[in-house]
Every structure is written in C-alpha cells, then in structure tokens.
C-alpha cells in the first residue's frame, strides 16, 4: 500500500486528472441514482409510514352503525376505521383561502395518515391537522391557525401525510383533519354527522380478492361511490409521475453507461501510457500477476475517494429537487435508505475503474518485455488502409478517431444514448405543453363549450363559424363487477366523432344507444374486447349494461373512459346535463365565434388539455427535465473531452510533428474537429434512430399504455440536439487544442508519455 501511494505521488497530475474523471462519473451516477431510487421507492415508504389502509371505501353519508353492521363481518379484516369527509368547506390561513376544502372528521382508531410534524389530534379543543401539501403551499407551521368554515379558527396541532392521493395543490382539494370530539364540542354530543369513509386494513393483503368479493354484496343497497384499493391508489400516483420516472430511468442508464465508458477508457489509456514502466518492472523480475495487481491497486486507490466524493455531491445536489417532486406526490424521501444503492454504485464505479486498469495491464503483459520497453501498444498487426476519404485535416482527425475502433464505438454509443435521452426530454416537454394547451392531443375536436341544454345546441349550430354543437355529458361510475375500478362515461346525444375522436385501436365506432367504445386503459383493466358486455354503476343510480363495439386510445382519465350515447344514461338519471360542446368550421375565427355566442347570450369557455394546470407542479417537472438535460449535456461534454484528450495523448507525437512542419494552432483544432465530428455525426444519427424506434415507444408505453403519446422526433429536436452536441464538441475542441498547444513542440517529439 505504501509503495502504491508512493507511485501515485510520483505522477500527481495524472492521478488528479483520473480522480476528476472518476468524480464526474460519480456525480452523474449520484444524481441519477438518487432521483431514480427516491421516486421508485417513495410510495412504499410513504404507505408504510402513514399506515395506509388496504381498501378505502367511499359511501354516501351513513349512520356509523349501518356501515359497521355490514363491514365488520367482512373476512380477512384486521381493522376498520370510519371517517366523515365534508367537502366544499372554506379553508383560509396565512392570507390564502380555498372554498373547495375537505374536512375529515376522524374517529378513534387507526388513522391512515402519518404525522410528519407536531402531534396527532388529541383531547384538546380547537385543534386540527393540516395535510403536508397545504402546509407547504400556504407556508403553515405547527401552532399557526386556520379558519375552517363552520368550525371557526383552529390551532394547527400537526402536519399530516396521507398517500391516498397526490398532494395539494396538484390535487385541487386542500384537506384538514379534525377529531370527532371537536365536532361534538361545537355542535353538542347529540350531533350525529354520520360517516362516509371506511378505511380497511386486511389481515392478509395478498387475499384482497376474498374481502372484495364479500364486500360487494355487503355494501349492496348503499350508495357506494368508490372502493379504492392500495394498488389503484398507487396506479393513480404512478401515472402522475410515470413519464418523469421513465425519463430518469433512461438518464440513469445513460449516466452509468457514460461513466463506465469514461472510467474504463481513462484507466486503459493510463495503463497503455505506462507500458515502458511496466516493461521495466517485468525486466527487474516482477511477475505478470504482480504488475497487474499493482496497476489495479493504483486504480482502486484513485477511484475510491473520487467516486465517493462524486456520488456524495451528486446525491446532495439531487436531494432537494427530488424531495420537492416527492412532496407533490405525497411521498417520502429515502433518507438513510439511500446509502445502500449509493454503496452499490460506489462498488460498481470502483470495480469498473479497477477492471479498466487490470484488463489492459494483463493484455499488455502478454507481450514480450522488450516490446513493452519500446512502449508496446495493445493494437495488433500493422495499420490497415481504412476506406475513409482523405478530407484534409478534418479527414485526418476522423482517421485518428476510427483508428481506436473500440474507443470510437463505445464513445459514440454513449453519445447516442445521451442524444436519444435529450431528444426524449424535448419530446416530453413538447408533449406536456400540448397536453396542457392543445385539446387535439386528447382527440378533442371541439374548441369551445357553453353552459346550456341540448335544445340550445340547435340555436348555436346556426351561428356562423360553428360546424356542430351538441350537449356533452359526463358521468362518474364504477364497473359493476369490480367496484374498485372507477371510470368516466362521456355521452353525446348522437355521434361523438365530430366532437371527439380518440384513435380507434380495435373494433368500430358505436352506432346505437346500447353500444359503447371504451378506452384502452379501462379495456386492459377489465379485460374488455369488442363484443364484451360492460355493466356500470353510475354514482347514485342503478346498473346499466352496454355492448362494447370499439376500443379507443384515449388519454382522458388515464384511458378509463367510456363513450356512449346519452339516451340510456338519461333514462337512468333524467337530470343528466352537461355543457354544449362546439366544433368550429374549418378556417373559422374563434374570437369571432366567441363574440357571436356572447351576443346570443352564451358565455363560452375555451377547451383545454388534460394535465394538471398547476403551475408549481409543471414548474417542478420542468426544472427536473431541465436538470436532466443539463446533466446529460455535461456527461456528453465529459465524454467528448475525454476522447479528444485521449486522442491527443495517443497522437502526441503526430501532432508535434505537424507543429514542427508548420501547422498553426488552427490546424490542430481542425484535426480535433474532425475527430469530434467522427464521434458526433454518427452519434446524432444513432440517437435519432434510438429515440424513434426504441426509447420513444418504451417511454410512451411506460407513461401511458392506454393511449398513443406523440413522442416522435421533430426536425427542431434533431436540430437542437445536433446543434447542442456540435456546440459541446466545439467547446471540447477549444479546451483540448489549448492544452495541446501549451506544450513545447520538442516535448511531444522526444517523449511518448
């Protein structure tokens, strides 16, 4: 060990360079690992910490005794807690207010939420818990006060976390908890507000189906709005973060691949450079194993502290934005649990560096000692003529790149994956914008809505610029056979295609009152195909049955939608209403139509997209995407810089001879530009293909298997990524050329190190 440290001290500058490269690789892996691991495991941690129930049942308000009588006899139940959820309550605190707040009246028993600050509700009067999202958005702390409609001012005793939904403001409803005792104190002991939520914990969660099967007849006759399982909750939350997680997984792959390539190439180059020194050791009697062992030990001694530093800084840098994102999803940061994956990444990085040194040292040591003393190279046999156009100085640079076929292949592979990931980031950013702003992304063809009845539609259809108008009704319902599966029915009096036409994946369009088209998300969940029967239970009415004739790729409500005609729904619920959807004529001026609607007494609204309009969430999402793109760009810069630096190291003598024969610094830059172009041009082509045929489809499928996400590659994206890589290449060429021309020409000619 002491000898190894002495060896390293003897080549301090090169050791520092290798350490910096390893730290850069560690940084990339640290960022990717932290974000990826935190998001992948955040839900499970939060569910455990908050004691999330296995099933959450929502009912119309009932007397507690009615629900108890039916649910207490369910099999496989460990515990049940009941709550009353009161909606549309005005909440105000710290200068902020909302009229659509939810107050959960909590009874004694298991809570189903975790207290992350302060304490739980107790016997003290005038106290409430606020949800973490509300506390953070409204900047509330324990001890502050919150005004609650009907209850007055309450002291905040604690901050609660519950994972049955994403957090406020991503979920639009702010939530607080108060105790049943508080209600009794305010309204008297005789006040019996009832309950409408049942939180069910199972003795054996893997036997959920048995409990659900028994629950269906048990709750028959009650107005059941929803039975949500833990799995369904997770699905909802995962879909909110699906694209981000998929992107970060890709980024993690890119970062690890690039880090591996960078480390292995740097270690191998260092060993090659030291070939004569290895020859001397062999000549003095060292065995091949001892020489390889020395080189490996040196690599480990350099890589270990550098990798630890890089990983630590990367993890710290990513921790803040990741915690913000987890906060929006009501999830919990990993804390010390992150140490395990980081330890794995540390071991991986050190192993790559050690293997990168050991393998070329082993190969070099198979050569004769005399060859090593002459600076033996790993390349075997004489150089062969490559079919590369001469192309002057650029062509020479390209030939330098191609001469190291292994390095060239690994570098363009890393750059191609990085470029594809950048194209993906751009495509996702475009998609987010269009989901937010462009109703066409959802297959919606109507541009405006106005409140009204179907009879108004005929009047509106006569307004110039309007192509069609019809009442659009939506009904929230559940599948009759599996009450855990909520769905949305969208109904028009006639043909829905003129107003919204999500692409047909299978079957045909509906043509009769008893037929429906279902979204792919719902079809996958319930196993529906054209010809299947769909039985649904709309909230507050009896069962309705339809024949499925088509499956559509719809983004709305995560693909859990049903397109139907209004007639049967209206038979079940005569009060069924909805706004009038207005499709504009081709070339019509929307503003002009809006003016004409105004004049006719109809107040119109523009049709929007589907993603949460919450600016904060989109802001966090955008900053994560920007950070990912920046990190990928830095990885690309490091990869190109390293390849150019290794090329100038390998070609030190050739470049020195060029300078001796009169080549100015610009000529060297031209050669290195050729080398960079030989890396970047094929990498961009590969990146486009990779994104188009591999990453795009995979991410689209991961993010929304129920719809067709337009994650294609546009000309702008290609130009941006190609231009970005070219700019990164130009920076790398400038840096390396400056370093190369700083050395005296004679030094490059005389020595080979």
């Amino acid at each position: 060990m002491r000898r190894a440290l002495r060896r390293l001290r003897g080549r301090r500058r090169r050791v520092l360079t290798a350490a910096a490269l390893t730290a850069a690789a560690g940084l990339a892996v640290g960022v990717a690992g932290t974000v990826g691991f935190s998001l992948a495991t955040g839900y499970d941690r939060a569910a455990q910490r908050t004691d999330q129930p296995d099933v959450l049942g929502r009912f119309a308000p009932q007397r507690l005794s009615v629900l108890r009588e039916r649910l207490d006899r369910l099999p496989n139940v460990e515990a049940i807690s009941y709550r009353l959820e009161v909606n549309r309550v005005r909440l105000a605190a710290n200068g902020q207010s909302k009229r659509n707040g939810a107050v959960h009246v909590v009874r004694p028993g298991r809570r189903g939420y975790g207290v992350v600050a302060g304490r739980d509700l107790g016997s003290r009067a005038g106290e409430a818990l606020v949800e973490r999202g509300v506390a953070e958005e409204w900047k509330l702390q324990v001890g502050d006060r919150i005004d609650v409609g009907g209850l007055g001012s309450l002291r905040i005793a604690g901050i609660a976390l519950s994972v049955d939904n994403v957090a406020f403001p991503l979920a639009t409803v702010p939530r607080i908890y108060v105790s049943e005792a508080e209600i009794s104190r305010r309204f008297g002991a005789d006040a019996n507000p009832g309950v409408n939520l049942a939180l069910v914990w199972l003795a054996d969660p893997s036997r959920l189906d048995i409990t659900l099967a028994a629950a269906r007849p048990a709750v028959f006759g009650l107005r059941t709005e929803q039975l949500l399982t833990k799995r369904a909750v997770r699905q909802v939350i995962d879909q909110a973060a699906g694209i981000v997680i998929a992107l970060l997984a890709v980024f993690g792959l890119v970062a690890c691949a690039c880090a591996g390539v960078m480390l292995a190439a740097a270690s191998a180059a260092e060993v090659r450079r030291r070939a004569p020194a290895l020859g001397v050791q062999r000549a003095l009697g060292a065995t091949r194993g001892a020489v390889v062992g020395d080189e490996t030990l040196d690599a480990v001694l350099v890589a270990a502290p550098a990798a630890a530093l890089g990983l630590g800084v990367g993890a710290l840098a990513a921790a803040g934005p990741t915690a913000n994102l987890l906060g929006f999803l009501n999830e919990v940061a990993p804390g010390s649990a992150l140490l395990w994956p980081l330890a794995g990444a540390f071991a991986g990085l050190v192993t790559v560096a050690a293997a990168g040194a050991a393998w070329p040292a082993w190969r070099l040591n198979r050569k004769a000692v005399s060859e090593l003393l002459r600076g033996g190279d790993l390349a075997t046999g004489p150089a062969k003529r490559r079919r590369v156009p001469s192309g002057g100085l650029f062509g020479l640079g390209a030939r330098f790149a191609f001469a190291r076929r292994g390095r060239w292949t690994s570098t363009i592979s890393a750059l191609a994956v990085a470029g594809a990931a950048m194209l993906l980031v751009l495509a996702v950013a475009d998609l987010l914008v269009s989901l937010r702003d462009d109703p066409g992304t959802l297959g919606r063809r109507y541009a405006l809505t106005v409140p009204g009845e179907q009879r108004d539609a005929r009047t509106i259809a006569r307004i110039p610029g309007v192509a069609a108008a019809a009442q659009r009704s939506t009904v929230e319902a559940a599948d009759s056979f599996s009450l855990t599966e909520p769905l949305r029915v969208i109904a028009y009096p006639g043909d829905h295609v003129p107003f919204e036409a999500p692409p047909l994946a299978e079957g045909r369009r509906l043509a009769a009152d008893g037929e429906v088209e279902v979204g792919l998300g719902l079809a996958d969940t319930l196993g529906l195909r054209p010809g299947s029967e769909l039985a649904i239970q709309p909230a507050g009415s009896g069962e309705l049955r339809f024949r499925v004739v088509g499956i559509v790729r719809a983004l709305e409500n995560d693909g859990r939608v049903v397109y139907a005609r209004t007639a049967r729904l209206r038979d079940a619920d005569p009060s069924l209403g909805g706004p009038i959807a207005i499709r504009l004529a081709s070339g019509a001026d929307r503003a002009d139509v809006v003016r004409r609607l105004d004049a006719a007494g109809f107040e119109s609204s523009a049709t929007g997209g589907a993603t949460p309009r919450n600016r904060s969430f989109l802001g966090v999402l955008a900053s994560v995407l920007r950070a990912v793109a920046l990190a990928i760009g830095l990885v690309c810069l490091a990869a190109i810089l390293q390849t150019l630096a290794l090329t100038t190291r390998d070609r030190r003598r050739a470049l020195a001879v060029m300078r001796a024969t009169g080549a100015p610094p610009g000529a060297l830059a031209a050669v290195l530009t050729g080398t960079a172009a030989a890396l970047i041009v094929p990498a961009v082509v590969l990146a486009v293909l990779l994104q188009r045929f591999v990453l795009g489809p995979i991410v689209a499928e991961l993010a929304a298997s129920y719809a067709t996400l337009p994650l294609g590659v546009g000309a702008t994206g290609i130009l941006l990524v190609g231009g970005g890589l070219a700019a990164i290449g130009a920076v790398a060429v400038l840096v390396v050329t400056r370093a190369a021309t700083r050395e005296p020409v004679a030094a490059g000619i005389e020595r080979d190190d």
């Binding site: 001469s390 002057g392 020479l396 001879v657 024969t661 080549a663 005296p744 004679a746 005389e750």
Partner: protein, 197 residues
C-alpha cells in the same frame, strides 16, 4: 544543456554535428527550429529572430523556412506516404502542393506513394520524410540522426537526397553518429557537454 554555442549556417552548406549521447545535439536542433526556446541567447532563421514570437508566428516561420527529418521518421500512421507529404504542404506556400508529385518522383517512391507507413521499409519511410521536409522549399533542413535507423544502402540514398538539397542554396544541419554522413559534410562540429568545438 547548451552553453555558449555560436553557430552560423551558410546557404548551400551541409554541416554535421557529432558528439556523445546527452551532449545536447538534439536540443541544438530543436532550438534552431524553434521547437524549443532558449533561456538565454538568440536564434535567427533566415534573418528572423525566434524569441518573443507567439506559437502561431513560430509555426508560420517553420512552415516557410524549416524542414525537419527525424531518426524514427515520424510519419503519421493513418496517412499514406504521399498524404504525409501533402499534409506538410498545407502549411506552406500555395505552390507547395504543386511540388508534391515532383518530389515523390525525385525520391523515387511513385510506386508506393499510396502505401501506409506500416507497409513501407525504413528507407522508404525516411525518403518520404525527406520529401516532407523539402515540400515547403525551406531555407534550412534540420535532420536528427536521419540514417540512424537505416541500413547502409538506404542511409546512402537518404544522404544523397540531403546532399543534393543543398545544391539550390539550402542549408542542412545534421546531427549524427554516422561516419558516412560526416564524410560528406562541408563542416563537422563536435558538441561536448553543451559546447561546440
């Protein structure tokens, strides 16, 4: 390394510098060609001082006035013999490229002009290296052991080329251990412990 060295090269003169290893022969060549700069003293090539010049100015000066020949040839491995000569011509005057074909004929390498260095013999490589040194029609050629890695016959051919290059008034400074070179030199200088004798 060098101490009190005072050397003038005259046009058309071939000067050989001999001396033991480590005496500073190669350093003398590097200083003369502006590959290294002296800590003290002055170097002039074709009447132009080298000190105080930027890297780009030194490169221009070398392209116009200096040609190098190295013991280990130092051809670029990825370029053919002819391409190596053309590469040097890029940095010289516009008519340098026109001289490439004639020079390759002059060194009798037309048949192997498109071969890579690894496919050439040592003598052929060194002849291409001489053609590379001559392509920009330099004022002076600086040759570091040009026959050191060659057999006697190839060495003689290379020496002929260097000798003939002085006919047009060019100066040649050769660092050598080869008696055949000193025998054909106009002057032979001995370098010992950094001083010329």
């Amino acid at each position: 390394m060098l101490d009190g060295v005072d050397l003038d090269l005259m046009p058309g003169e071939l000067v050989a510098v001999v001396g033991p290893s480590g005496s500073g022969k190669s350093t003398l060549l590097h200083l003369a060609g502006g590959l290294d700069l002296p800590e003290a003293g002055e170097v002039e090539v074709a009447g132009e001082r080298l000190s105080g010049r930027s890297d780009a100015e030194l490169a221009r000066l070398r392209a116009r006035h200096v040609g190098f020949v190295f013991q280990a040839f130092h051809l670029v491995a990825e370029l053919s013999g002819e391409e190596n000569v053309r590469l040097a011509a890029r940095f010289g005057t516009r008519d340098a490229a026109d001289r490439v074909a004639a020079l390759i004929d002059a060194v009798d390498l037309r048949a192997v002009a498109r071969s890579l260095p690894a496919q050439l013999s040592g003598g052929e490589q060194q002849r291409f290296a001489v053609a590379r040194a001559l392509v920009n029609d330099p004022t002076v050629i600086l040759a570091d052991e040009p026959t050191g890695n060659l057999d006697a016959r190839s060495g003689a051919t290379v020496l002929d080329l260097l000798r003939r290059s002085t006919d047009s008034g060019r100066a040649v400074l050769v660092v050598t251990h080869d008696p055949a070179v000193t025998a054909r030199a106009d002057r032979v200088l001995r370098l010992h412990d950094g001083s010329l004798a």
